[in-house]
Symmetry: C2
Subunit: 301 residues, 2 copies
């Protein structure tokens, strides 16, 4: 699981800080999460191939999370993309993008498929053989979802020494990986767990931005490996967090602790702060394993 932060600052893009966008590479997918202005340039800068991005998840319709989408869609068109593009976003974005394409008389040559989100309960919005994605209803000034990405349990791994010793025909390897017992060449039943090892433990990643402090999401986040939780403010500005429906570093850490996550990544910093390390120190008073997002930073788990 690899997470590339394209942008992690709140509100307005500047020469040295980008609004929210990140790419999660999980199993064989490159999921783009949020798409602030300038995201297409950051994708290039971070050498992420455009055609690998087939699914875009938009948390909410504030500009710093979605104003780069129209440009990205348009660039894909100019590059004569053929691959389908799925967009999971609050209801309304489809109307905006469609209107923009109509006014520009520039329709995509590829399939553009909107999945409009309206539910206030966590729901499954993507599933294939390897991964599921659920929404995480957040509390913000407009309708907002976080997203929970979960690997499925993979295939068991062959213990090749044991497999060869047991004299199993290669035709049965696939059945072994799927967990079945098989007969060997002499017709003897071989128990699966005598020749295979457990699959890697499935990993999970949760993206929660933007949101006020909200304990309701703790059951959804329970035991996830990596939680990205917004921390727009430090505790000393907690009074700003509530009316703007944002969180402090301390509040993010509290959610991480209650949810028993392994790693907390902080981001969506207000640009009023010069020293990001203050966010980490503050969060660590509550929860030990804290990382700081920053534009261009890559996390591998």
């Amino acid at each position: 699981m690899k997470l590339t932060i394209l942008g992690c600052y709140s509100a307005t893009p500047k020469t040295n800080s980008n609004p929210t966008a990140q790419v999660l590479e999980i199993k064989n997918h490159s999921f783009l999460i949020d798409c602030g202005e300038g995201t297409q340039v950051e994708l290039r800068r971070n050498k992420i191939k455009f055609n690998r991005v087939k699914h875009i998840f938009i948390s909410h319709l504030h500009g710093d999370h979605c104003f780069g989408l129209a440009g990205l869609i348009s660039t894909f068109r100019l590059l004569i993309r053929e691959v389908d593009l799925h967009i999971y976003a609050p209801k309304g974005l489809k109307e905006v993008i469609t209107l923009q394409m109509k006014l520009a008389n520039s329709w995509t040559n590829y399939q553009l498929i909107f999945h409009e989100l309206t539910s206030n309960k966590s729901e499954l919005i993507f599933e294939d053989d390897t991964v599921t994605v659920y929404t995480i209803p957040l509390k913000h000034r407009v309708y907002t979802n976080g997203f929970l990405f979960k690997e499925k349990l993979g295939e068991r791994k062959l213990d090749m020494n044991a497999v060869l010793n047991a004299d199993i025909d290669i035709a049965y390897y696939r059945k072994l990986k799927l967990g079945f017992d098989v007969e060997n060449k002499s017709g003897k039943l071989i128990e699966n767990n005598s020749v295979t090892k457990s699959a890697n433990k499935p990993k999970s990643y949760a993206f929660c931005s933007d949101t006020a402090y909200n304990e309701d999401i703790v059951p959804i986040l329970k035991d996830v490996d990596v939680l990205y939780h917004e921390s727009t403010f430090l505790d000393k500005h907690e009074k700003l967090a509530d009316p703007t429906k944002h969180s402090t570093a301390k509040q993010a850490a509290s959610i991480a602790k209650q949810s028993n996550v392994k790693t907390l990544i902080l981001g969506h910093y207000s640009t009023r702060y010069d020293d990001l390390n203050a966010f980490k120190l503050e969060a660590q008073t509550i929860f030990e394993n804290v990382e700081l997002a920053d534009d261009g930073k890559i996390f591998e788990f």
Copy 2:
């Protein structure tokens, strides 16, 4: 008259090239012309004060000329702007921006005034004591206007030696600047042109992008000081210019020559070309005084 090129490349923004946006400082105005994605960051990079921008002119609704506008409007709101903002753009953009603000539940605290353009004839769209702005109907794949910015004739300049010799009361200086004859302290009639000099010759700037080769605009451009004309292609790709409704460097130069402009600035280059100088050399086979736009370049006239 000062022109700052924020971006001058066609189509898709890249790490080292921005889509169209430029700022024309003329008399006391800072006019923003087009607003591709990333314009707000380029305004910052070029140290142009946001509050100086009160009028934005959008040529057409292709993304590389307008996808930065929603973000700019939103950033002005976050910075608690109080100054009115006028936007001159093809009909339709108001609907897009309004829908985006509605979905984000983020209305501007400042006055946002749209002037929707629909005419296919050149029309006066802005006028004050010092400047006029006219549209220039262009030929492109969607409804498109260029813009002609013209200084008005300023006040006459006092020849201070002559004024003092003529013994004119200071109370009459204003009348002299406006071109009137006045009486001196002894009651003698002083002819205006004996104590004043002509005002500076009014300057003019025309922006023409995007457009196919179109001789219809020559009468509008007649004798302008500076013409920015798109040259997406070189002559060797002329076959691409017609179907995409763009121009070659040679065609831009031909328009400049027929219009008897003083200076031609080329821009809106396709990123297929590595060497911009080829555009200049090609245009100079037709018209001598050619400049090349480039991101961050400043022209003073």
